[in-house]
Symmetry: C2
């Protein structure tokens, strides 16, 4: 391929960014759009009234050849996009964990988008690298971990757990998996990961990705309170060893997805020590609650883990995405992942190059929003918000307990309530009733709940955690549930 000769210089006004004045004006319009949205999000139903294909068919199938005015595009956003998203920032969004983007978090995202930096190397992002180190250490202190824990930020808990389990795999004795891989090796037995039957699906995905295989994830049975049974864990490890397989890591969950149950860490730590196994703690949701001493007490033993993930984007008012992976020995991640081509070699010594600690080379400046959120609310302010959400969950649980035709399906340690209606009828009838009840509640508009199955039975879940919640939200949510159940009972009678 030949280089062509230099062309005449193009007109910069025709090839630059949006004109500066126009961008400034549009950014102020967006500032108001964002503020309006947060003030008025309650006016929307949580789930939009939209059928599959509606949005796509409202938009041109082909990209526009010519530039369009920014106000036209923002008008389309307001008309076609905003009303047709599921409103995660709506106080009635209780289907999934407590995701609430806060004002300071949004300010941080806007600033971060303008800088548009990539914190892969210290040199390419000195302030971003050091701010990431700093806020990870703030979070370490806030959740009561010893100073040897070092954190970095990933996009999601899926990636944090993947990275942690890759480090665990790398440290399987004499295996050199990084170099030699896992296939075609008579010296390498199947590697096994242990997790509760209630562990998150991301652990299975990590096992797929890492070449461990779903067959080699042991789903350890839980006790009556949905906590991993240490005796069953010990037994499974013994069985695998006896069969010539190689136990590699245990994943304990603090705050399981279905019920927010807490695996018994002290007993699991003891087993991991005895068996010389990597312990990864998935605290994606409930780790945020550890900033309150009374909730941290329930996680005793977490400081003995090799790695811990928790997501400030779940319950610490930080917009998606933001997941913290804290590891006892960061060298173990670096050994597993560091791979530095010539064009990424820099002269600085003694600095952290964040690209060395995981899969992704590209890394947004996520620490900025975390810093803004922690400072804007203060640790005490964040504690107060966690406590308020947990109190709301207790209040909702109280309503459920007082209703003779409902039952609480699992303990409520944090801000998530699992419950179900128990009308007269067979268990299968009850399941159908609850499934229809959920559909009716979600169709009403002000609330979006989800479901799970516990011991085979269909159970509803309400995850509380929005910053814009009001005192009346809990009684109003309960009234809606009650009303839907009564109507359904009347229909089925």
């Amino acid at each position: 391929m030949e280089s062509s000769s230099p062309q005449s210089r193009p007109d910069p006004t025709a090839i630059g960014d949006m004109p500066a004045a126009e961008f400034r004006r549009a950014m102020h319009r967006v500032a108001d759009m964002v503020a309006d949205y947060l003030e008025n999000v309650r006016d929307y139903p949580v789930l939009p009234k939209v059928a599959p294909g509606d949005v796509r068919s409202a938009l041109p199938a082909e990209p526009p050849a010519r530039a369009e005015p920014i106000d036209t595009i923002l008008d389309d956003y307001k008309r076609i996009i905003e009303p047709n998203v599921t409103h995660w920032n709506h106080p009635g969004f209780m289907a999934y964990f407590a995701v609430t983007g806060s004002g300071p978090g949004i300010l941080g995202e806007a600033l971060s988008a303008a800088l548009n930096l990539n914190a892969m190397l210290w040199r390419t992002a000195p302030a971003a690298t050091e701010l990431e180190e700093l806020v990870c250490d703030w979070l370490r202190q806030m959740i009561g971990l010893p100073p040897e824990f070092v954190g970095h930020i990933n996009d999601t808990a899926s990636v944090s757990s993947l990275v942690s389990l890759a480090a665990a795999r790398h440290h399987v004795r004499d295996s050199s998996i990084r170099q030699r891989g896992m296939a075609g090796r008579p010296d390498l037995p199947p590697l096994v990961i242990y997790a509760s039957e209630h562990a998150h699906s991301s652990i299975g995905k990590a096992a797929i990705t890492l070449g461990i295989g779903l067959d080699n994830v042991r789903h350890i049975p839980a006790d009556d309170a949905f906590r991993m049974r240490p005796d069953a864990l010990a037994e499974a490890i013994a069985q695998d060893r006896a069969a010539g397989r190689m136990p590699m890591a245990v994943v304990a969950t603090v705050g399981t997805t279905s019920t927010t149950s807490i695996d018994p860490l002290p007993a699991i730590v003891e087993i991991c020590r005895r068996e010389n196994l990597w312990l990864h703690v998935d605290a994606a949701y409930a780790g945020s609650a550890a900033i309150c001493p009374e909730y941290r007490a329930w996680m005793d033993g977490i400081e003995q883990a090799d790695s811990i993930v928790f997501n400030p984007h779940k319950w610490l008012c930080v917009p998606v995405d933001c997941s913290i992976l804290l590891v006892r020995d960061p060298k173990q991640l670096r050994d597993a992942f560091s791979l530095v081509p010539e064009y990424l070699r820099t002269s600085e010594t003694g600095v952290t190059n964040l690209m060395d600690y995981g899969v992704q080379l590209g890394r947004r400046f996520r620490a900025l929003k975390v810093w803004l959120v922690i400072r804007t609310f203060g640790v005490q302010g964040l504690q107060a918000r966690i406590r308020a959400h947990c109190a709301m969950a207790q209040e909702l649980a109280g309503h459920v307990k007082n209703a003779s035709d409902f039952e609480i399906s699992a303990p409520v340690p944090f801000s998530t309530v699992c419950f179900r209606a128990v009308p007269a009828g067979s268990p299968e009838d009850q399941d159908r009733f609850n499934e229809q009840l959920l559909a009716d509640i979600n169709a009403a508009g002000p609330v979006f709940l989800s479901h799970t199955r516990l011991r085979g039975r269909y159970v509803l879940r309400a995850c509380i955690g929005n910053l814009r919640a009001r005192p009346d939200d809990v009684p109003e949510t309960w009234n809606l549930i009650r009303r839907c159940a009564d109507r359904l009972l009347a229909r089925t009678d």
Copy 2:
């Protein structure tokens, strides 16, 4: 663990988000901060004058217990953070690929942060899911791929390539790696990935993560123009088959990191067909150029790939992060990755649940910024910008060619120029000269270049691609290079 009794209701003004009026005011302040930054970014040196540890030591080591005023925090941002980042949005940032965040992209990020949704299921994000499908199809049309290609958005090319190679691994005949894993299997020989010696380090990281192992990545030698040699590829495959190993995938690069060379796709396609191998094309940088027919012509054969990655966050004016993975048959990704726990089952049928196509469950609303950027500039506007950057690169290359003591080190197909000074002396002397020259140029302030090694020699790289570039930027950059070289020559004489 017992549920405690309901507590008294907390005061919502003490536990809510920032007060609405305060947030609106702060958001307008941030709008001006962002607009000011983009207008004045040239006033900063590209690389900040900061030593390791400076930023962290300027900030408190402990998190604040109490809330702080937002204006204090934004003042600190302006004073401590903004001046101490490397300015990726500075027109003189030429060290890495062409990352330029545009105005419409920033508007999109701000709106997306406010929605704070997670596009994991259609139900949790109808408009975001359908807009992602739409913009991926717009991009497919823009780069001239047939309609069977379906795209989705990942954070980075590292993840896009990882996901693609996981799908390739899943489709190794009869291997059931998803279920059974790779270790302890006498039936499974080592799997092998083929890529150019100039392939990106993310391919090696994918091989580590997937359990393929670095030893099983064949770095195929390149020709004089840094393009993978098909004859050497065919030979490596034959050798591996003869040795009982199992070839799995070929990664062809369109726009290698060091020189932006283009692997010969038609010949590679033919080998992949004959050998029944998955072909992944890494076009992370140069894929954007395919929106111009004259550059698309150089990628003839790309439409025969199984998967293609390119990053709108590199050269399509979209802020980080945004990487598109286009696959010929999305079912292959779904087969490899889909894992749906009960709490993520929804009743909609015939919809796309984007979580099924990769590693991460959590997915930001990245399609929004892509949509804003394409509409704001139009396809023709984006083409004009790509062409302008390539013309600037040719102009810079022209200056280098006209200087008797410099040489162009590689062809310049796109917007990246590899060059070096060739003063009198041994090759090692010349390497030292160029290394010092790079340090001097980068210390000056207005420009940040990087380096690589080609055929063992130290080479400088200038990657052009900023929206805020001005016609004088190329001659001024060349003058700076010239001045630094002259001063260094005078010193070494």
